[in-house]
């Protein structure tokens, strides 16, 4: 007959509450990824288990659970339409956890709940692998472990603090082993990342068309776009860092898009000059194919280059697949351009005019053309026009109407870099100069050895074809707001704010100091994040191989790391157990040392003192095992007992003499030892 399950609640409430809180805490970062009603169901189930079942003792019936399963399955079908996919899978998991919470009423159930808590916490990392999230998940893991410890200590709420200290100590003790596993466990797939969410990506960042406001909308985003290091130590000045992202050929007023070109005709090594700048770029996943490189990527192969990418018309790079993971690649750029021939196809595209241009705009461009002898002069006139005609640079230029170009040039004169780039390129085309719009990022923040580029560094500029010179970068923004280019958007905005706020100039010094400190803290934190990305998350098969090469294992297959792993684990565990044994013993005084000498001597004769064994009992056992020296042994034992436990003042010399009186080694007496096993009295 099967034993019937208990119908009363038998678990202590504190750990039960603790594990429910742990599950909910693990769930918190997932809230936007799962069906909200599933979470509500879980909270309801936890509440019912904790406050209804715990009090009344009535566990929910089978019928209720079956109904809940049916409702949950129906809900999933209605919400997602399928069981496949991360979101619906997670929601199903949550429903099952809710049911488990509801029926938990034994130690075994409790352990299952704790394991589910761990699992849910780890699920957080599906969606982001930010360092902060890792720390949070670590905290949840400590908490769930503390709950387990608390449960096994009887489950009183007040024991939690001590339990969490124990849990922390336990996890810390496991840390060396985790590190060894991390370094040595064979990587069968690329890297430690398993991020596969599409929903978080593509909400911010580049887009594949340029329209008024598309860059300005990013200007306040602190999100990191990518980080770049310079392995050869050749770091250009920040104001010269134009990170090329994409080139737009087809323009219509303020709206630009890639255009019809397919063939990357310019991809020819040797047309670029200047010192090569090797960059290693750690690109945050953005759900697109854009890759970034300093103006201009040369297409030279590099040593660390493993990634595959294509050259697109306009000398920019594109990944061959959509980027959902941190993507690392190396690229070489050269600052000088020595192109001489513009392909017919490209020239046609670079001169194509918008469908409709207002007469005023056309007249403006033609007047420049007429007044200038060279193309260069036209460009200068255009820039001069922006400079003197009270154009202003603003994050919030407002929206433009039907004929945006005309309105921008002659009426409002307020814009962000995309307005200027788009307008400038159009005007150049009207003046007969082939031109195109480039988008990407400009500058960044230098943080030690690497540059961090954020979404707010997004920028748009233009390139114009000058005969004999090739494509020439022209940044109209530099004409409007030179400090935006020389010192970056953030400080430009700050100086604008300070200028409009003269009254508080006295306080601005401290405010500036604060800002500076905040900036430095931000950079330090970013550096930690960068190192984390670089060294932990990016630790893949290749890195592992080079790590092995560094410690002297060449051409490691998968067996060798495993063997090393086992060896390292063995060493670590034995070190740990040694340490645990040591740390349990209080420091010995002189009497203790003499007695330890005594026990050691007897241990060499085969009589080992059990940790719990008192001196007299041990003395008797040892005396029985070594009858030749029985009186001397018993003398040591009684002397020790007297000194250690007696009321008389302690004088170690007596014990020292007694121990010295023993022979240096004992003859093993074999058969008698076996009969003298240590046993506890059992009255």
């Amino acid at each position: 007959m099967k034993p019937s399950p208990p119908t009363r609640s038998v678990l202590p409430i504190a750990p039960l509450l603790g594990v429910c809180l742990g599950i909910l805490a693990g769930l918190a970062p997932l809230l936007s990824q799962v069906a909200p009603w599933a979470v509500l169901l879980l909270i309801g189930a936890a509440g019912m288990r904790l406050f209804v079942s715990q009090r009344s003792g009535a566990m929910p019936s089978l019928a209720l659970k079956v109904v809940l399963i049916a409702l949950g399955a129906g809900g999933i079908a209605l919400t997602y339409g399928s069981m496949l996919g991360t979101e619906s899978g997670l929601s199903i998991l949550i429903i099952l956890v809710a049911l488990k919470v509801l029926e938990t009423n034994s130690a075994r159930d409790f352990h299952v709940l704790a394991l589910l808590g761990y699992f849910l916490a780890l699920c957080d990392l599906f969606f982001s692998q930010d360092l902060l999230l890792w720390l949070y998940v670590g905290l949840v893991v400590v908490w769930v472990t503390a709950t387990l410890v608390c449960f096994h200590r009887g489950g009183q709420a007040r024991a939690y603090w001590r339990a969490s200290r124990t849990a922390g100590a336990l996890l810390l003790q496991g840390l060396p082993l985790a590190l060894v596993l991390f370094a040595l466990f064979p990587r069968a797939y690329g890297g430690f990342r398993f991020q596969f969410s599409r929903s978080l990506i593509g909400t911010a960042g580049m887009s594949d068309r340029l329209s008024p406001g598309s860059v300005a909308s990013l200007a306040l985003s602190e999100t990191v776009a990518f980080r770049a290091s310079f392995p050869d130590g050749n770091v250009p000045p920040l104001s010269q860092m134009y990170w090329r992202g994409a080139v737009f050929w087809k323009g219509n007023g303020l709206n630009w898009e890639p255009g019809p070109l397919r063939d990357p005709l310019e991809r020819r090594i040797g047309q670029l000059g200047g010192t090569p700048i090797r960059q290693r770029i750690y690109l945050q996943p953005h759900g697109g194919k854009w890759l970034f490189a300093l103006d201009r990527p040369s297409g030279e192969r590099t040593r660390g280059d493993t990634a595959r990418f294509d050259f697109m018309p306009g000398s920019y790079l594109q990944s061959q697949r959509i980027l959902f993971n941190l993507f690392t690649y190396e690229v070489v750029s050269r600052p000088e351009n020595r192109e001489t021939v513009l392909a017919r196809e490209q020239e046609r595209a670079a001169l194509a005019l918008p469908l409709q241009v207002s007469p005023r705009v056309k007249a403006l461009a033609e007047s420049w053309r007429a007044a200038s002898k060279t193309d260069r002069e036209v460009i200068d006139r255009a820039l001069q026009h922006f400079r003197v005609e009270r154009f202003s640079y603003s994050l919030e230029p407002g929206s433009y109407g039907q004929d945006a170009l005309d309105e921008f040039l002659f009426e409002r004169r307020v814009g962000f870099c995309e307005h200027y780039a788009a307008t400038f390129a159009t005007l150049m085309r009207l003046a007969g100069i082939p031109s195109r719009v480039v988008i990407g990022y400009h500058g960044g923040e230098l943080n030690g050895s690497y540059v961090r580029v954020r979404q707010s560094d997004a920028h748009a500029w233009t390139e114009a074809w000058i005969k004999g010179k090739g494509w020439l970068r022209v940044d109209p923004t530099e004409a409007i707001a030179p400090e935006r280019i020389s010192s970056g958007l953030a400080s430009y905005l700050e100086s604008q704010a300070a200028a409009s706020d003269d009254a508080s100039s006295g306080a601005s010094n401290t405010a500036l100091g604060w800002r500076e400190m905040m900036r430095e803290m931000r950079l330090a934190w970013d550096n930690i994040n960068y190192q984390w990305d670089l060294r932990v998350l990016n630790y893949d098969e290749d890195n592992q191989r080079s790590f092995f090469a560094q410690i002297g294992i060449k051409n490691a297959g998968w067996m060798e790391p495993l063997l090393w792993l086992l060896l390292a684990a063995l060493v670590l565990l034995s070190l740990l157990s040694l340490w645990l044994r040591r740390s349990g013993k209080p420091p010995r005084d002189e009497i203790g040392r003499w007695f330890a000498k005594f026990t050691k001597l007897l241990a060499s004769a085969g009589v080992v003192r059990e940790p719990w064994e008192g001196p007299i009992r041990f003395g008797e056992r040892a005396a029985a095992a070594c009858p030749n020296h029985a009186p001397a042994i018993q003398h040591v034992a009684t002397t020790y007992a007297k000194l250690r436990y007696g009321a008389a003042p302690q004088e170690p010399r007596e014990l020292a003499d007694a121990v010295r009186a023993l022979p240096k080694s004992f003859a093993k007496t074999g058969g008698e030892l076996a009969s003298a096993d240590a046993t506890l009295p059992s009255p």
């Binding site: 013993k585 719990w612 008192g614 250690r644 436990y645 009321a647």
Partner: protein
């Protein structure tokens, strides 16, 4: 003094054959001024042991058989109106004697049990507002059947704590049983026992036991044991249990003719003192309590 204790042990051992360890523990319990609980199945000599002990101690002795209809007044006594003196006169119950043998303590209702245990703790009883002091020495020996037998009211944890020790006698060995089968009727033997330890001597010994030295090293060990129990079990040993362990160890050390307590002494009495205090831990039985106490001693290192 110790030789008289040896004589006492020897005399009782003649009645209860082959149970010298248990008898020594019972005597240690008495010397430590604690009360004794003897638990075992019927017929192994629980009652005979307590009889023999009481007789050999030369103390006045009463026996109370606990039943489910026993009332507190039946053991404590009550006030009865005396016609001649025209007032209430207190008639002391059987508890007013130096050695009280409670047979089958877990057969009485909790109400009666608690009256008894209160008297044991306070050393006096209060009836109708008047306080009556119990005699000195006051030693309660209670026997009980294992809890799973029909018609018993198990003593709650808090009340088990009042007994310094709990002993199990167990079935005698084959040779001991043979001796018993061949010998005279046990009850007759008990009746003929002569006291070997007078009341005054007992009191002296009890005072001397308190004077046995307990060193810092021993107290460290004792506290390690207590902490170990608290770390491992839901409700570890209480401070009262710690004190009980100390007193019992002192008595044992005294019986070993020592003027200091050694870890060995604590280990000798440890299971008897701790088992019933740990036995109520979840899903453990009396056997479980013994196992817990034993493993506790085994896992606490002597420095």
């Amino acid at each position: 003094m110790q030789s008289r204790i040896e004589a006492l042990v020897a005399q009782v051992s003649e009645i209860i054959v082959g149970k010298e360890d248990a008898i020594r523990l019972a005597v240690a319990c008495l010397l430590a001024r604690g009360h004794l609980l003897i638990e075992d199945v019927p017929g192994v000599g629980k009652t005979t042991l307590s009889h023999a002990l009481a007789r050999s101690l030369g103390l006045n002795f009463r026996r109370i058989q606990f039943t489910s209809d026993l009332l507190p007044a039946d053991i404590l006594g009550n006030s009865i109106f005396d016609r001649e003196q025209q007032r209430f006169v207190f008639h002391a119950g059987p508890i007013f004697s130096q050695v009280v043998l409670i047979d089958e303590v877990n057969r009485a209702t909790p109400k009666t049990q608690s009256a008894l245990l209160e008297a044991m703790e306070e050393n006096h009883v209060t009836i109708d507002g008047a306080s009556h002091v119990l005699p000195v020495p006051f030693f309660v020996m209670a026997t009980q059947n294992p809890q799973h037998q029909v018609g018993t009211f198990p003593l709650p944890e808090s009340q088990l704590d009042r007994f310094l020790m709990r002993l199990e006698l167990g079935v005698p060995s084959r040779s001991a049983e043979r001796t018993m089968l061949l010998g005279l009727e046990r009850r007759d033997l008990v009746r003929d026992l002569k006291p070997v330890l007078e009341g005054e001597a007992l009191r002296e010994i009890q005072t001397a036991v308190r004077g046995v030295h307990t060193s810092a090293a021993l107290l460290d060990y004792l506290q390690d044991v207590l902490e170990g129990s608290r770390r491992r079990h839901r409700t570890g040993l209480s401070p009262r249990a710690g004190l009980a362990l100390l007193r019992a160890s002192q008595a044992w050390a005294f019986m070993q003719r020592r003027d200091m307590v050694l870890p060995e002494d604590l280990q000798a009495v440890g299971v008897a003192v701790m088992a019933h205090r740990l036995g109520e831990d979840f899903e453990t039985t009396a056997e479980g309590g013994r196992a817990l106490a034993q493993s506790l001693l085994r896992e606490t290192a002597v420095a």
